[in-house]
Assembly symmetry: C2
Homo-oligomer: 621 residues x 2
């Protein structure tokens, strides 16, 4: 099964491969998926029960007494959990989980109205209010998540029950908001991509057309949502990525899905502009998005505060989702760069190593106050990270007519069919090392291209075929294309040079001016106080010439490569609570040894200050 199935999309350059065609055998993601199955999905289910999220369905159908409980969009958390469970079942059959999902689906299905409508908040005497406040109430959003859950479950297990519910609900929406009907658009986008995926699943074109109608209606003053809801302009006229970051990125997902079906150039023009706005001016080095607490929104260009970053987990996930679609549309590696960075950093930081604690907000620096929670009243992030982790192998590869695209490096086995069935084994210790070997096993000799992504962080590449060094030319879209007739046992070795890098940001980013971030491969590093006890991590300066070394720590944070180095700590005492003061005369910089860990792993031990960006400027005068 695919999360986004572009196999029949006329304007998609790349077809995604089924999740189940990729078997993860690595030490980084596979253990996380095991934790997801064993701890995350069960605890999220229990929390959905305990907080009334599942009861709401039973109550709406009369199975259980009581009224609606929680936020009006709580249905969506249950749907995201079902979707994540469906992905997980694809990877690892689990009778118990499957039974659980079926019971939840029964509860969901029973809550559907005869006309197809399904939103439990609008049962309980609120039927008259249905579809009356598209701007604020998340009916279309919740429906969209239901469709995605249904599609995933159908593709994963073949179970049609929820898909039938989804189709009835979608038919109802087509009847109300379809082309030529009532003009509407949701305050919180999501349904657009869901309707396109339902079109891909069922072939019913009205779903696609309704998705397009909802998109076309934005910015026409219909729901009066303004800039935060990306309703201030028509989509095709957007120049900058603005507004609520998750809404904005979900909307872009839907628009990209529509583009892959229609090939409309004006749509692509807007998507291209929005992506440039994001990638050149409004994204965090972690792949996080959304600078502002106010409105959970993108800031203006270069407004990227660190400690005050919002960078919602859902926004990093949405970044993965959108960039995946942009890649499927084009085959351009630049989108996978953003996707990879967001997965390894800004999204993965959203869940603890124990799989049971979450960040909603992912700052790039903290003074020791920001800690993971077991759940949130608005719990969009926890089941969203589950969806992503459970389907992760689906992003590793892509195929086109006669090419296999390797997007992510991860020890795994791929089975795909081009003209012939092909097995590819990928051997690597990525993300800790940049060496990758591919063992090609076609069922018979096969002519196809192996396109291997050269990550944006990688400046030097080595390539060998069956022990012989090859010249590499990295093209503008940064895939190395190796086209030939492959025989069983052919081995390709790719060496991605992976040094520790000092990253600086464009100097227009106030918050990081004169500072650097440490990066190695796709991983952004940070310093936590617990590893650096004799100075405040915010006081560290890493001079340009400082020597940095890496070291594997098998017992730290489930195994991480750390970065160690020597820097200067410029101690400061601000207990006088002054906001500005003369720098202290004679205040010295003292040499310290420091240690940095991957950002995704922070806040898994005792509380304390953390920072990604450290001081760097300066040289002797």
């Amino acid at each position: 099964m695919q999360v986004v199935d572009t196999s029949t999309s006329p304007h998609a350059k790349i077809r995604s491969v089924p999740i189940e065609s990729v078997k993860l055998e690595d030490g980084f993601w596979a253990p996380r998926q095991r934790i997801l199955r064993e701890r995350t999905l069960p605890t999220q289910y229990m929390l959905c029960e305990e907080t009334g999220r599942i009861s709401n369905f039973r109550r709406a159908s009369g199975k259980e007494a009581g009224s609606f409980q929680g936020y009006f969009f709580n249905d969506s958390d249950v749907y995201k959990w079902i979707e994540a469970a469906a992905f997980s079942l694809t990877v690892e059959p689990d009778g118990e989980l499957r039974d659980l999902v079926e019971r939840v689906v029964d509860d969901v299905a029973a809550a559907q109205d005869e006309d197809g409508y399904l939103d439990t908040y609008f049962a309980f005497g609120r039927k008259k209010e249905r579809w009356t406040n598209l701007q604020e109430m998340h009916e279309l959003y919740c429906h969209g998540h239901m469709f995605q859950a249904a599609i995933a479950l159908y593709r994963s297990t073949g179970a049609r029950k929820l898909l039938d519910v989804a189709c009835r609900a979608a038919d109802n929406i087509v009847n109300i908001f379809g082309p030529g009907k009532r003009q509407g658009t949701p305050g919180h986008p999501e349904i657009e991509m869901a309707l396109v995926e339902l079109y891909r699943t069922t072939g019913k074109r009205a779903y696609l057309e309704t998705a397009k109608a909802l998109l076309d209606n934005r910015g026409r003053g219909i729901v009066g949502g303004g800039k935060n809801l990306i309703d201030h302009k028509q989509f095709r006229e957007l120049e900058e990525i603005v507004g609520h970051s998750v809404r904005s990125l979900y909307l872009n997902c839907g628009a990209t899905d529509i583009y892959m079906e229609t090939g409309e150039e004006a749509l692509w023009g807007a998507l291209d502009r929005l992506w440039i706005s994001l990638a050149e001016k409004r994204i965090y080095v972690t792949g996080g998005a959304g600078a502002r607490y106010d409105g959970e929104a993108f800031g203006v260009d270069f407004e990227l505060p660190n400690a005050m970053a919002y960078a919602e987990t859902c926004a990093a996930i949405a970044n993965v989702m959108w960039n995946w679609r942009m890649f499927l549309a084009t085959g351009d590696a630049k989108y996978v760069d953003v996707l990879e960075g967001a997965i390894y950093n800004g999204a993965l930081s959203g869940i603890s190593l124990d799989g049971k604690h979450y960040f909603y907000v992912n700052p790039l620096g903290d003074r020791g106050d920001h800690r993971r929670q077991e759940w949130f009243p608005c719990a969009c992030c926890p089941p969203n990270i589950s969806r992503l982790l459970a389907s992760l192998q689906g992003y590793a590869y892509g195929v086109s007519e006669r090419e296999v695209w390797v997007n992510l490096y991860v020890q795994s086995r791929l089975q795909v069919k081009l003209t012939k069935a092909i097995n590819i084994e990928q051997r690597t210790e990525y993300p800790w090392q940049g060496e990758v070997a591919f063992v090609i096993e076609p069922e018979a000799e096969a002519d196809f291209g192996l396109n291997m992504r050269v990550p944006g962080w990688c400046g030097m590449v080595g390539l060998e075929l069956n022990g012989k060094r090859l010249e590499t030319q990295i093209g503008p879209n940064r895939f190395i294309a190796l086209r030939r007739t492959w025989s069983a046992g052919d081995v390709v070795r790719l060496s991605l040079y992976m040094p520790v890098e000092r990253i600086e940001s464009n100097p227009r980013v106030d918050a990081s001016l004169g500072r650097i971030a440490l990066r190695r491969g796709p991983l952004i590093y940070c310093l936590e106080q617990i590893d650096n006890r004799d100075f405040d991590v915010w006081d560290l300066v890493v001079p340009t010439g400082a020597f940095l070394e890496t070291g594997w720590e098998p017992n730290l944070l489930n195994g991480v490569m750390v970065i160690r180095g020597e820097g200067l700590a410029i101690d400061s005492d601000w207990s006088d609570r002054r906001l500005y003061r003369p720098i202290q005369a004679g205040r010295g910089a003292r040499r310290v040894k420091f240690m940095a860990i991957p950002y995704y792993a922070w806040a898994n031990r005792e509380p304390g200050p953390m920072t990604i960006w450290v001081g760097s400027q300066g040289a002797p005068i």
Copy 2:
């Protein structure tokens, strides 16, 4: 005349002195007041005419045909202009200006309704809408500015016409919103301080009580204004300074005025908390306030971006106004520190050297785009800076029963009466030099204290009395108190050590982390591209040990002390439009000579990048 007359306020520790009792004879402020009289006030009058601001009054009274023109709060700009003109007339009689003011007052007076109401937007068939939208329409705000103009004119020239208009309007407001009447509170505070001042002028207690009622009604859900309008909590429960910065600070002015009349402790408790919140966490090094464009609002603690600072000119002025009142209430020098910093930096930057161009927004760094304008559709700032400059000498001194308080250093002559009439001549080249001499001339021997403020920026002080060195002990409120029996010709010499200082900000301020600002005396310095042509001013690093020297430049920017030094420029080329990238290997720092000018004087020459904060971190490892 005083702007804030605390001579009968039972809970004010300090009485302000009349503007006309201080004669400026300096080279810094006196020339600015001349430019104000000769260019600023005439051009602002003409712009008020050209934009219909004065016509609105004539139209409302039927003197002229036509409908309301411009923003609904445009009356207030005319009032601020009258107020500024009144201050100016106090300092320098000018028959032409006085005639002009009288004509404008005639137009204003004619527009008043029989019941006392006066807001020209709500003439023109909008009478029914009066007082129906206190949250958004600025009726109370405009009335407040009218009262302040009337008081200033009355105190300055004795003219009662506008004062009578004001009293009729205030009586109308007392009848509608006074204690026991309709509960209301303005979306934009201003009227509170105006009503208290009208009480001080007329002795009519109902004005004070109505001011208090309007304050008490905040945060009770009456106008539903929320946090941006500081209507989310009752005033006495506020913990942090939040919301629209000008509204917030104007509200604090009113609350402080009420406190000085009532002595209510709960009110003081809130004011004290708000001041700490401002001074320790939410003010710019320029004395500017309001970090955010969105809502023109304060940010959260330490949210103080530089290039994206909002720091509206009006907010810096409001900072002066509020801190002046806090000082009058307490005699604590810490408030004058903020006042002085705001005057010399964040407020003064709001007007060009030619007196005809203005900033609405005062960023602390810029890439060359931000330029002064001749006027704004929302023109609150230009006449506000006029009010401040025209009354500036009124802030220089204060008196209490047997003490003269010297708040600001400026070459001037003061005439006050304590038990006896006293003349004090202050000789200084402040703000360019820290040497100050006071020549005391009482009419007869007089016993009083001369309290001289030791500015917060000053760490070392010398004091001489009639040529003899005195021991100085700087008390916790940082006034040197010299109490004795003074004879004619006594000379006090105060030396405020005024080196160039490198200022750092609390490291929680992301935007300035690892950077320094140059300060000398009360002046914050900045670098403009025009003075530093061979490197980008944003690329400058000033190492800790770098030598800095000052130099007087009589022909530059009307005469300024510049700071010169040697630093490092770490050149960067970001034309690749990347947001993040590895620092360039071998990229060197090169020695450069730099020159900094006072921040207030920037953007008076050709456009180009400017920055207050420059790099500082780093030392050899």
